[in-house]
């Protein structure tokens, strides 16, 4: 009898497990469908059927060429890179956010917290305002790649700095790292302020738009450069899910469960630093995705990182893809900054989830 009762209790815990799998599946299907849809939407409309026909033709599944060559050119050189970049950046930012929230055991942690974003922003400001005025062979050679390179370097350097400040004898103090991140953010803010003071009107406008983010510059050439960094985070961070689960109990508890905590922390910080640095370098500052996507999913499927991490990747990609679609269509032919869309759409939704959850359980 008592085993039967126990089975009932076990069974009650199963639905969350199953529904998590369903949520992942459905999100992935929706992402695929929205990708097909959004490569077709723009100044030249390509219906989904034509999009699928072009892909089938390219992959050698059909010999029929019912579409116009101009459609194919637009699709492959303009739309597709932008859609791919949106999905990759969104996925990397959201996975990084989920990993940071787990590592810091704090649902409000965000990749920006450890200084990656502000380091990148600082380097960008310096590149735009100061470096672009200097005529050195290196700088003229880099040309338009100057700002992304600076952003990436600044982001990773800030991460390394914060990490070094928080590590002693091979042990990383997570709270010290948080506080060091705040200090680095403040210092970067001060120097950016000084750069704004130095900047002329055009530079100021460039800088402001950069901090709001844009995927407008997406090209295959830039995607190939950031792809390894973004993919590494998207693929490797979810593999650390089980360790992250145990770290939520506490670092000592995770160690007692056989997890190599120091190695885990280092791996997460390195991959988050690289991915966020790379994302910021191609798309500017896109806030909110890293913070809110894991949060939304956690309220939906629970905190188990083995579902949360891949789910965040898919939902993050989806959210940024839809935001970018809105950014380039709402005010067409002009483009809205994507950061405006992500914040304006996500924040009220987030608040609604918080309120709903407050009334139901009282915990995040």
């Amino acid at each position: 009898m008592s085993t039967l009762v126990q089975w009932f209790y076990v069974w009650r815990t199963v639905p969350r497990f199953m529904s998590s799998i369903w949520v992942l599946l459905i999100l992935t299907l929706v992402l695929g469908w929205v990708m097909v849809l959004s490569v077709g939407i723009g100044a030249v409309n390509i219906p989904p059927s034509a999009v699928l026909a072009i892909f089938a033709h390219l992959l050698g599944f059909s010999t029929e060429t019912g579409h116009q060559p101009v459609q194919e050119a637009i699709l492959l050189t303009i739309r597709l890179p932008r859609v791919v970049l949106a999905v990759l950046v969104g996925a990397a930012l959201a996975v990084s956010g989920a990993a940071m929230q787990g590592l810091f055991r704090n649902p409000l942690a965000d990749p920006g917290l450890i200084g990656v974003s502000s380091g990148a922003a600082l380097a960008t400001a310096i590149a735009m305002v100061v470096l672009s005025q200097i005529t050195l062979p290196v700088i003229t050679y880099l040309g338009p790649a100057l700002v992304p390179m600076a952003a990436f370097a600044g982001g990773t350097m800030a991460t390394v700095l914060v990490y070094t400040l928080a590590t002693r004898n091979g042990q990383t103090q997570v709270t010290t790292m948080l506080l060091a991140g705040i200090a680095v953010n403040a210092l970067a803010g001060a120097i950016i302020g000084f750069m704004i003071f130095l900047a002329d009107d055009d530079q100021l406008r460039d800088l402001t738009f950069w901090t709001l983010g844009s995927l407008g510059g997406a090209m295959w050439s830039s995607i190939w450069i950031v792809l390894p960094f973004l993919l590494a985070a998207i693929l490797i961070l979810p593999a650390l899910s089980r360790g992250l689960n145990t770290i939520l109990l506490g670092e000592a508890e995770a160690r007692h469960l056989g997890v190599r905590v120091e190695l885990l922390k280092k791996t997460i910080i390195v991959f988050v630093g690289l991915a966020v640095g790379a994302a910021v370098s191609v798309s500017g500052m896109i806030g909110f995705v890293g913070l809110v996507v894991p949060h939304i999913l956690r309220l939906w499927i629970g905190p188990d990182h083995r579902f949360l991490m891949p789910g965040s990747a898919v939902l993050g990609g989806l959210l940024l893809l839809v935001s970018d679609l809105l950014a380039r269509t709402l005010a067409a032919p002009a483009e809205l900054p994507i950061g405006v869309i992500t914040a304006a759409a996500g924040a009220p939704f987030f608040l609604w989830l918080l309120l709903r959850n407050r009334d139901q359980e009282g915990y995040l």
């Binding site: 076990v10 815990t13 939520l248 109990l249 000592a252 469960l257 056989g258 956690r298 629970g302 915990y363």
Partner: protein, 279 residues
């Protein structure tokens, strides 16, 4: 055998544990007692390898603790720390299932779920399985954590392989009935080759269930022996700075400690001294 050889722990210039030797044999139940700040938790954290002693060694079965692979260690040694908090809404069952981490890769199997649930039944929390952990009461959380620890050592206990259970005040938030049920349960585990080291504040629980009692005072090993040897009025009174009477338990023939300190009075001297210092 888990063995501390002459360990000293210092943080800053304060010595928290001072040249302590301790042996813990599989099959024995050792209670660690002492005043607040006597070094009990520090000693336990040194035995688990979370704090490194400035001198001395901790060995498990003849091997230095730091030379054992984390995963190997996790399969034969479980630790329960004081009040484990969880910032996210895992269910109680998911928390217990984490105890299976050293035994499975990726996702838990059906067996893991069965083991987790039977461990929850042992600590009396199976009915809380689908409750969110942060919403549980302090005592319920402790019982869930204890179930997680038992799930972690389940395989070793089943096979009666030697394994080690280190617990830091695992029963502090439990009611009397649950305290005794769980002490009885843990006591029974020692028959299956489990070594138990438990920090306790309730002297009578220690007297009733432990084979061996270790008393710490100011970081030093103050007394070590069976409850009958250690529970003497002058010894306990001195270790805890609190006068006691020691009687015999009317039913279990073990020592029974009764405090005789300060009934209905305020603490003497300290208050006056503070007042004098202010003046």
């Amino acid at each position: 055998m888990l063995e501390a050889r002459d360990i000293t722990v210092q943080i800053g210039d304060k010595t928290l544990v001072d040249r302590v030797n301790l042996k813990l044999e599989p099959g024995s139940f050792c209670a660690v007692l002492g005043k607040n700040g006597a070094g009990k938790s520090t000693l336990l954290k040194t035995l688990t390898g979370d704090i490194h002693p400035i001198s001395g060694q901790v060995c498990m079965e003849g091997t230095l603790l730091s030379h054992i692979k984390p995963l190997t260690l996790a399969r034969k040694r479980a630790v329960m720390m004081q009040n484990t908090q969880l910032p996210f809404a895992f269910t109680a069952f998911e928390v217990v299932l984490m105890g299976r981490t050293p035994h499975t890769r990726g996702f838990e199997t059906h067996d893991d779920r069965r083991i987790a649930m039977s461990c929850m039944a042992e600590t009396g929390v199976d009915h809380l399985a689908s409750r969110s952990y942060p919403t549980l009461s302090g005592g319920e959380k402790q019982r869930v954590q204890l179930a997680r620890i038992l799930a972690q050592l389940h395989d070793a206990i089943e096979n009666a392989d030697p394994c080690y259970l280190l617990l830091d005040e695992p029963l502090s938030s439990l009611d009397m009935s649950h305290q005794h049920t769980l002490m009885h349960h843990i006591r029974r585990l020692t028959q299956r080759n489990v070594a138990v080291l438990m920090i306790l504040h309730d002297l009578n629980l220690a007297a009733q269930y432990a084979d061996e009692v270790t008393i710490l005072k100011d970081g030093r090993l103050y007394a070590l022996g069976t409850p009958d040897e250690v529970f003497r009025p002058e010894l306990i009174g001195d270790a805890f700075d609190c006068p006691v009477h020691i009687l015999r338990h009317p039913e279990f023939d073990c020592p029974l400690v009764i405090s005789t300190a300060l009934h209905g009075k305020t603490m003497p001297s300290t208050g006056n001294r503070v007042a004098a210092a202010v003046r």
